[in-house]
Amino acid sequence: MANKLLEVKNLKQYFGPANNPIKAVDGISFEIYEGETLGLVGESGCGKSTTGRSIIRLYDITDGEILFKGKNVLDTKSRKEMKEFNREMQMIFQDPYASLNPRMTAGEIISEGFNIHGLYKNKQERQARVAELLEAVGLNREHANRYAHEFSGGQRQRIGIARALSLDPSFIIADEPISALDVSIQAQVVNLLKQLQKERNLTYLFIAHDLSMVKYISDRIAVMYRGKIVELGEANEIYHHPIHPYTKSLLSAVPLPDPMTERMRERIPYTHEEPGETATIHEVKPGHLVFGTQQQINKWK
């Protein structure tokens, strides 16, 4: 198996007062291997974005450890180390409208990182690099002088992807990069991400709120529910042998391509179940983890 690129250990992120915090992320652990895509799936508000933002250090985490390339990222304190970290890890955001500054042109947005890191000081070199990035995400090099509002949602998301690629990162957190887009455009953006992954040897944490597109891009899938990861495993394993009732409920919500069977698709509602005091992570099969008590897991099986 490939090397571990990212290791998250018992990550906690609480908001609000210390005596009654909102536990947005409540003790999650997982690993991401070099070159793979880990899908992180869960309903709205379960803490997916918070997980991503904590990993990339937009938030100071409450507790836990994050190892990137074997190094604890919380130890990177100096400005220089932080900048090195920024070049390795980037993020693609959910909202194609809010994620681009309306006062900047596409070229300015894509080259923002060059200013910050003092790269490509030569104007021609910089323009060439911006043009190359625009073309890499399927946009036209002439678009560099256009303002964000002149682009469609899908094109804006491509600009966001170009920005994330600008510093040549090895790891990208894609926070619901397609959920705000038309279904017809979603597939294009997913294809683009897959293609870039192959060309640039990228590793992804791909966040989504349902399982429909995730299967197509993820090697492994983590299912998140109320700040905890309730199930994690190979994508096929999660699809074919889900154990946690919440995963089953998510799977039942995926529309089917065949209209005959789609009509008969039954949604399985999930009724919240307290995980129980002794609930822990169980490895039901190699690489397939489920969160719950032993009794619960036996029952679910």
Partner: protein, 311 residues
């Protein structure tokens, strides 16, 4: 469940192929590129009332600059013709001391505009600094700074001004200080609101993940995006400062004689309302016209900037 499982078996990633067509091909954009501010300008110039406001302000400003320079009379010169009605020699008549009202109106315009603009600039500097520090710092600092502003604004405005003017004696400088003591609070609140909303926008988060320093964020993201709201607030602060100045002068707390502001002129003119109405009418007319013009421009700017009107 088994049903859907079989379905999932049927859709394997290998089954997806790119059939061409729109993949990779980019949609065409319109030919002309329009920057945000260009678009604001275009929308603004379509607003007739706002353009009228601009025209009025330009005329008032030019008159305030040039009339006192080129007029045959000075604003303090006593010509010996008392309370004369408007005529070819004295377009707006004369007052009880025999001074030409036309020159005095434009001399007064200088004082009123100077007070209005200076107060607005001071509000701008203090309000932007206070509001942006408060919004950026957040947490305790934000709390304390905003409570201070709340306490200041809870003190009756007029009381502050009157106490200050009594301590400092009426005049131009104390009037400006008096106007600024509480005036900046509105600006500070607006800037803080802008900063709070902008700093959590995804484009700011994106800049932070690129490694941007606080100064970079302020320069490239906060200022350009808060500028619109600041401009509108400032344009709307000027008329309220002019109005307050006029109001305080009317109460006898304005600039001392022989200086003239629209407020002091109206106050004196009020005494001769029946015998020499032009002494009240002209300054009052220009107070209203100028305040209206500033408000029209401010509203026009706000409409032009409002993203909700954007397509």
């Amino acid at each position: 469940m088994t049903q859907s499982k079989q379905q999932f078996d049927k859709i394997a990633p290998e089954m997806f192929t790119i059939v061409g067509g729109r993949q990779g091909e980019t949609e065409k954009l319109s030919d002309k590129t329009v920057s945000f501010w260009k678009e604001v300008f275009l929308r603004f110039s379509q607003n007739k009332l706002a353009i009228f406001g601009i025209v009025v302000l330009v005329i008032v400003t030019l008159m305030a600059i040039f009339v006192p320079i080129f007029s045959p009379y000075s604003y303090r010169e006593q010509l010996g013709i008392y309370n004369a009605a408007p005529s070819a020699a004295h377009w707006f008549g004369t007052d009880d001391l025999g001074r030409d009202v036309f020159v005095r109106v434009w001399q007064g315009a200088r004082i009123s505009l100077f007070i209005g603009i200076t107060a607005a600039v001071i509000d701008l500097v203090i309000g932007v600094l206070w509001g942006s520090i408060s919004g950026l710092a957040g947490g305790r600092v934000d709390n304390i700074m905003m409570r201070i502003a709340d306490v200041l604004s809870a003190v009756p405005y007029l009381l502050v001004v009157i106490i200050l003017l009594v301590v400092l004696k009426p005049g131009l400088i104390p009037m400006i200080i008096a106007l600024s003591v509480t005036g900046w609070i509105n600006m500070a609140r607006i800037v803080r609101g802008e900063v709070l909303s902008i700093k959590n926008q995804e484009y700011v988060l994106a800049a932070r993940t690129l490694g941007a320093s606080t100064w970079h964020l302020i320069k490239k993201h906060l200022i350009p995006n808060a500028l619109g709201a600041i401009l509108v607030t400032m344009t709307l602060t000027i008329p309220s400062a002019i109005f307050t100045e006029a109001f305080l002068s009317y109460l006898g707390l304005g600039v001392p004689a022989p200086m003239a502001s629209w407020g002091t002129m109206a106050s004196e003119g009020n005494k001769a309302l029946t015998s020499a109405p032009w002494r009240l009418i002209f300054p009052a007319l220009f107070i209203s016209l100028t305040i209206f013009a500033f408000n029209a421009v401010g509203d026009g700017l706000r409409d032009a900037l409002d993203p909700k009107l954007r397509k």
